[in-house]
Amino acid sequence: MVKTAGRVIMYVFLIVALILYLFPIYLIVINSFKPFKDMFESCLAFPKSLYLDNYITAFSSSGFIRRLFNNIVLTFMTVAGVLLVTSMAGYKLSRVKSKLSKFLYLLYTVPFLIPFYTYMIPLVQLITKMKLMNTLSGVALISISSSSFAFFMFHGFVKTIPVELDESARIDGCGEFRIYTRIIVPLLKPIMSSVAVLYAIWTWNDFLLPFLILNNPEKQTVTIAVYQMFGKFGSDWDVITATLVLASLPMVILYIVLQKYVISGIVAGAMKG
């Protein structure tokens, strides 16, 4: 009896905590559906009618669709690159035990500890010299180069795949690259999905790096649009809240659909680290 009562109290407590925790999101969303004057009558009130003008303004504001498209392209390029490059490196470094592989393993931990601004200016110079300024591929290449988290995930996961699989394929005359594509990649699929979803979220949300590399409005991303919108619309919180919702919506949908990969990815990352 006491135990059930305790249980009920705990459930109530958790649900109240959850509602409070998500309340800020609720506030942003409901206010984005209100005309400006209604907003400050009461921020807490539910919209009187379905008012979509804020979204229309935000969406039709110069180049929002363009930036949405850029973000999608950038996210795809980065995720594809990260998956290919780090799974190859993670696989081999996990298989070969030598001083060199130990050294490289240590070397790849550096991005966890070094803040981006330590090398951000020389990096911009380098990108300028390589004529990659204002290109999405430039941003993608930089993101891929520091994708150590993905490397460690693959490195850890390959350990759970028996070496005998590689060896028997080798005896059957299978080349190294075919072993990777035909045997390792199919087995890495679950962890690849997790890495892909996590990097999609991180790339989509990244701000400082695209902000530095992409000056041309034609090439910029949604996060930059959100940042600049504040200067453009001043304190027009009606349009701003709508933009905040629009910029986040794709990742919210992605998370809802693929949440099991997000969760298992974070858990695997923590356990292998």
């Binding site: 601004y117 200016i121 919210v252 923590a270």
Partner: protein
């Protein structure tokens, strides 16, 4: 004869044992060479990108920290440790940012982990709605820090004032972003809100990996709820604590975007962390790239030392089940 001696030397160097009179390369050596070449082939794409876009600019950045370079002129003068000495002796604003970062980091790491672990323990017990709670508490983490910064700016300024007008509750009339005393707390609150779900997830996974038999044995021995947590669950959760504190520590010391958007370091310099200080002073207005980079190197060293101490101390506390 000379040829033979040379091969012998060669093989000795590579640690290959060769049978007397056997001039052919021996099989294990060939295998080693093949392994090495396939290793290089597989790591090449990642490693080449890593060297070009990370290591190379990093070394260059470290070099600039010893110069007075302004980022534009070709005139780069080597000035030794002058930038570092300047930062620690003359730059009160930088020292202030060290203190702000310290306060921010301690508070964020403590609150995120205590709340994250507490919530994980509760959620793990709520069998029926466990997966729903786990999914929803994580939601803030998927928003970009820029979005989070602006959202909280809206909440702290507009919504709070509005709630005060409606309810007259004094708390909502506080100047959340404008007061020197409160601004840092507001920033910390936002950061905890954004990141806590991530740590909660890792703690939930940690709790799930604890063997149920150990807890049952403790229950039979008459251990109370608190004792079970203090002497069984918590020690077994140490690996999760280590990784959560490590991630949170490095992230908090580097914090930039959310504060940059929410307060830009203000009011005054009340929320100016090291990263925001570097941006405002070196890359924002005055072009003191050499000096800014020196401060960034200091921050990198702080992160490395703190992480190293944290990891080795926490690892020593981990136990085997």
């Amino acid at each position: 004869m000379a040829n033979f001696a040379l091969t012998g030397l060669f093989n000795k160097f590579y640690g290959v044992v060769i049978r007397k009179g056997d001039l052919l390369m021996n099989l294990s050596y060939r295998k080693k060479l093949k392994d090495l070449s396939s290793l290089l082939l597989f790591i090449a794409p990642f490693t080449v990108l890593y060297i070009i876009f990370l290591l190379f600019p990093l070394v260059q950045g470290a070099f600039y920290s010893f110069t007075d370079w302004n980022g534009i002129s070709s005139n780069v003068r080597f000035i030794g440790l002058a930038n570092y000495i300047e930062a620690f002796t003359n730059d009160k604003r930088f020292i202030n940012s060290l203190i702000v970062t310290g306060k921010y980091t301690v508070a964020t790491v403590l609150i995120s982990n205590v709340v994250g672990l507490g919530l994980a323990l509760f959620i793990e017990n709520s069998v029926k709605i466990k997966s729903m709670l786990r999914t929803l508490f994580f939601v803030p983490y998927i928003f970009s820090l820029v979005v989070v910064g602006f959202s909280w700016k809206f909440i702290y300024t507009k919504i709070a004032t509005n709630i005060y007008q409606l309810t007259n509750i004094g708390f909502f009339n506080l100047d959340f972003l404008g007061s020197h005393k409160i601004a840092l707390i507001s920033v910390i609150f936002m950061s905890v809100w954004h990141g806590m779900g991530y740590y909660m997830l890792i703690y939930i996974a940690g709790i799930q990996s604890i063997d149920q038999y150990i807890l049952e044995a403790a229950t039979i021995d008459g251990a109370s709820g608190w004792k079970k947590f203090r002497y069984i669950k918590f020690p077994l959760l140490m690996p999760s604590v280590t990784i959560c504190v490590f991630t949170c520590l490095a992230g908090s010391l580097k914090v930039f975007e959310s504060i940059f958007v929410l307060t830009s370091g203000g009011p005054g310099y009340a929320t100016e962390t090291i990263a925001v200080n570097i941006y405002n002073e070196a890359f924002g207005s005055a072009n003191l790239y050499g000096y800014g980079t020196a401060k960034a190197v200091v921050l990198a060293l702080i992160i490395m030392v703190v992480s190293f101490i944290q990891l080795s101390y926490f690892k020593s506390k981990e136990v085997e089940a």
